[in-house]
Amino acid sequence: MWAQILNATIETVYMVGVALVLSALFGIPLGILLVITGPRHIKPLPVIHRSLSVVINVGRSLPFIILLVAIIPFTRWLVGTSIGTTGAIVPLTVSAIPFMARVVETALLEVDWGVIEAAQAMGASTQQIITKVLIPEAIPGLVLGVTMVAVSLISYSAMAGAVGGGGLGDLAIRYGYQRFRGDIMLITVLVLVAMVQSIQSFGGWLASRLNHR
């Protein structure tokens, strides 16, 4: 039993970890693009801004369980399978990208506009403003945002587990629920709670460490 739980925990960490990194890889640039193309920001591009916003909203409004099923053909085409941890990473990533983009947007919009203008007045280019002002100034907010995405990825990964994705969710459903193993159910829940707690505390600690405001 303990070996199973350990194995499932590793699977969950793997799924969430990979999905988090991938969604950050795509979601952070999207969030930056969303912000800077906004009206009265450093690179106003109304068409791009609005289309991006619509796409993100669509992604955000799809329930995860529906997205999971709906993109099975895409998942198969991309990674050759739609089941197991690898199969679960694709829908997890796809659903986390728009979330990540919004979270990044919120963090970047918090940056004091006066500071951005000061950089403009000093002759900074758009790229320099992004890399030297927007991102560094938003770091604490970005860390908290990524923490939020990580926590929701854990709960989504449990859902992905329910449709054969592996991990703690899978274990809880197969043993805890279908085979009436209350002890396994309890332990998986405790492990999940511990995971969420530690991610949240670490994120909060890191954000305040990096905050010089």
Binding site: V115, A121, M122, G123, A124, S125, Q128, K132, P136
Partner: protein, 352 residues
């Protein structure tokens, strides 16, 4: 002779459209000379920030041209605009320092973006921090500094790229009076040391009085008056300028004295109550005692006030001059001849 550093020609800036249309600047023309400290004063909403922000194109005017050292700013774009901006320093009311960077890295910022090598950067930052008196705060974060210290960092940062012009948008409005004075002194120091042209906007006449050479008064998007600061204080022409002056120079007769004047009037037959205003060197001379001696009149000082505009004494005196009619008249004529501005407030006998 002095050359023109910044020139605005018929600059018009309009925000919004329809009912939200606001004419922030209407046909503004200005000439700012190289090496001077040029003040722009106006009430809230008069268009001061808009005006100063047009100079580095943070705002784009709808009409008019702005030239800086002969180069037209108004039609610059992209790379050229960024290069031009590097020659214009700017400081702000709320300092606008990067909270994620230490003092050192804040001052290094403009050098970093213009590609100065790290070693050179470090030397330059250290000398700038020495200049503004913050060498010991080099590794502090802005949140650990007082307002005055933050503005010093702002000034060091603005000077880092060796600008020809420094724009100050209400740079002292968030500071207490003592700190304001010390920041103004620093600005005056860099103006003299580097021959830097400084444009500063403010709603405080004290700031203008303290360090500006030339001043423009802006009211509702229009320049209603401009000239030397001394000239403005001696002869304010616009209503807006007079309004600002009131609080700074006590040109008003205090109510207690006004009451006394109307209640008693001059006590003797031939006497006048006069306000004597002076500007410049007069303060050091024994004008009053000399008048008393030479014309055998009595002078009773009711009220006196002395102030300084950029180290130039400026003040007014309300006196009662009494004595023989002819002597009083001669005394008044003599004071006028010395270049003093006389205003008879009350009196018996013929006016001079």
């Amino acid at each position: 002779m002095s050359t023109v550093m910044i020139e605005l020609e018929k600059v018009t800036k309009i925000y919004g459209q329809g009912d939200k249309r606001v004419v922030a600047l209407a046909d503004v023309s200005l000439q700012i000379k190289k090496g001077e400290i040029f003040g722009i004063i106006g009430l809230s909403g008069a268009g001061k920030s808009t005006l100063i922000r047009c100079i580095n194109k943070l705002e784009e005017p709808q009409a008019g041209t702005i030239r800086l050292a002969g180069q037209e700013i108004t039609n610059l774009q992209g790379k050229e605009l960024r290069a031009a901006r590097r020659k214009i320093g700017m400081i702000f009311q709320h300092f606008n320092l990067l909270s994620s960077r230490t003092v050192f890295r804040n001052v290094a910022f403009p050098l970093e973006i213009s590609g100065v090598k790290p070693k050179e950067r470090e030397e330059r930052v250290r000398s700038l921090l020495d200049l503004v008196g913050l060498a010991d705060k080099i590794n502090a974060y802005p949140s650990e500094l007082s307002g005055g210290q933050k503005q010093r960092v702002g000034i060091a940062r603005a000077l880092a790229s060796n600008p020809e012009v420094l724009l100050c948008d209400e740079a002292t409005s968030a500071l207490d009076p003592d700190t304001t004075k010390s920041i103004l002194r620093l600005l005056q120091d860099v103006n003299r040391r580097f021959g830097l042209t400084i444009v500063l906007i403010t709603h405080q006449m004290e700031v203008i009085k303290e360090i500006c050479d030339t001043v423009a008064v802006i009211d509702d998007g229009r320049i209603v008056e401009q000239g030397s600061v001394v000239e403005l204080f001696a002869r304010p022409r616009s209503a807006a300028a007079r309004r600002f002056m009131k609080g700074v120079l006590h040109t008003e007769i205090p109510p207690e004295i006004q009451e006394r004047m109307s209640a008693e009037g001059p006590r003797q037959q031939h006497g006048k109550t006069v306000r004597i205003s002076f500007i410049g060197g007069m303060a050091g001379q024994p004008i009053i005692s000399s008048v008393i001696r030479r014309f055998q009149v009595d002078v009773n000082i009711l009220y006196a006030n002395l102030d300084f505009i950029k180290n130039m004494p400026f003040g007014s005196l309300i006196v009662e001059i009494t004595g023989d009619e002819a002597n009083v008249a001669r005394a008044l004529a003599d004071l006028t001849a010395q270049g003093l501005k006389l205003e008879v407030l009350a009196g018996v006998g013929p006016d001079s």
